[in-house]
């Protein structure tokens, strides 16, 4: 039951993707759409190959900032969540500020951060981390609270210490929520990194993919623009798949979210 199911889940989106590419290419050729308006896939692939060294370096920059921001968001977000669940007072006092951080668009605060922090790479990382941290905080907080009350009584009755309850009960209970938070945060870190770079507009050797898109726009090199866009999208998908793999590795044995449908 499992084999064809998995094959279908991977195969079907690929077939759809190929079909769209073929139609896209065909339509552009049939109606002679100029490349500066809407390039066809073959032109984008050409740009990808032609500008590969530049694009690769830009991809490396963007990914580095994304991963740094993601790491900061995960570590800091988890720590904050642990502090939040220590007391209702702390959580009630500080949670609104976490929300404030979330609802303020990164585009609006990015210029401020870029001015305050001299190091460009660091300022971009901070911007992206600000975007990515909220789902980690909120999911982990909810997770640490979501403990089966029966099990909690059971631990209390057996005179479990606070640390034992945390390690054996609260953390495993929180894990599915935490991992769902990571999945969202990984995507947001990438978005944050790209948006912050748009705002910063940094060029030079440390230019990321967003700068390539800006530059390509100025030069009306639309196929290059699409090539950079393609790399961003690809990075996002890969990050997502990585998070799904982590989720399955950690929860595969027991959690409902990893249960496959019995056909």
């Amino acid at each position: 039951m499992n084999e064809p199911h998995t094959a279908f889940r991977t195969g079907a989106p690929i077939v759809v993707g190929l079909l769209i590419l073929v139609l896209w290419e065909g339509a552009c050729r049939a109606w002679h759409v100029p490349a500066y308006l809407f390039p066809m896939p073959s032109a984008i692939a050409g740009a990808l190959v032609r500008e590969w060294p530049v694009l690769l370096r830009a991809l490396g920059t963007t990914l580095l900032i994304t991963l740094q921001a993601f790491a900061i968001a995960v570590v800091l977000g988890t720590l904050i969540a642990f502090v939040f669940v220590q007391s209702k007072v702390i959580e009630a006092s500080f949670f609104p500020y976490a929300v404030l951080l979330q609802v303020t668009p990164v585009v609006a605060i990015a210029p401020l951060i870029i001015i305050l922090v001299k190091n460009t790479s660091l300022s971009l990382t901070i911007c992206a981390a600000v975007v990515a941290i909220f789902p980690v905080i909120s999911n982990t907080t909810i997770g640490l609270h979501s403990v089966d009350p029966g099990l909690l009584s059971y631990f209390r009755m057996n005179k479990a210490t606070r640390l034992e309850t945390l390690l054996r009960l609260r953390i495993p209970s929180a894990l599915p929520f935490f991992l769902a938070g990571l999945r969202i945060a990984s995507g947001l870190a990438l978005i944050g990194a790209v948006v912050a770079e748009f705002v910063a507009g940094t060029g030079g050797r440390s230019a990321g993919l967003a700068y390539q898109i800006l530059q390509a726009g100025f030069q009306l090199d639309i196929p290059l623009m699409f090539a950079a866009l393609f790399l961003i999208a690809l990075s996002g998908v890969l990050l997502y798949l990585l998070m799904v793999a982590l989720n399955n590795a950690l929860l595969g044995h027991w959690h409902e979210s990893t249960l496959r449908e019995e056909l």
Binding site: N158, R168, P172
Partner: protein, 265 residues
Amino acid sequence: MTGATGPAVVELRGADKVFSNGMRGLAPIDLCVQPGEFVTLIGPSGCGKSTLLKLIANLIAPTSGELGWWGEGFERVGQPGHQIAFVFQEPTLMPWSRVDTNVRLPLDLDHVSKEQAAPRVDAALANVNLTGFRRHYPRQLSGGMRMRVSIARALVTDPDLLLMDEPFGALDEFTRNRLDDDLLRLSFERKLTTIFVTHSLYEAVFLSTRVIVMAANPGRVFAEFRVDEPEPRGDDFRTSARFAELSRELSKILHAASVAGGAEA
């Protein structure tokens, strides 16, 4: 019957419970449970049978009155000869842990070494016929099997007093009867003292040496009912005329209790 050799396992003297919202959950109750007794608490909803069990488990404190365990305070509970195990309505297992780890939990929390715990876990699993499922996760088991894991987790501590809060209420009748058989066999073999909350009068008759019938508004002991049937009991007892007779008697008392408590159903 069960000769009172030592102090009562549990004794309540005028223990009552008024909830924080002012509602009176339990009127002052006097109750004395002797070693080896199987006491069932039964009564309509709201009669405070679960509250009474929680008092006995020290999960909640009485508003006034006194409780004693083996003639002493709760501090001594947990030491050898003073071990209490509680089985909830739900299996309350850790879904991320395998069956054997779940059963070992109370020993882990008591800092028993893995080597010392292993044979005890094996014995507890054998007791509930789950030896072949030790490496399974709870989600791979049926409802009845999960409940048996929960019972194994209670037995592994070698309890002297077993408290059960409607443990088989969510199971179908067939599974429930099987588990009742197992429970009775175990409590007979191990000379357990058990206090058992149930909704089912047949279960109460089948299991108990003594049934405490409770009434609501406020929660109180309405009547006591003894079942003088020697152990071991089995399907022969369940299908006997005596069982039917006892069930009818208990049914009458239960009806009177629900009228006295002003219950609508």
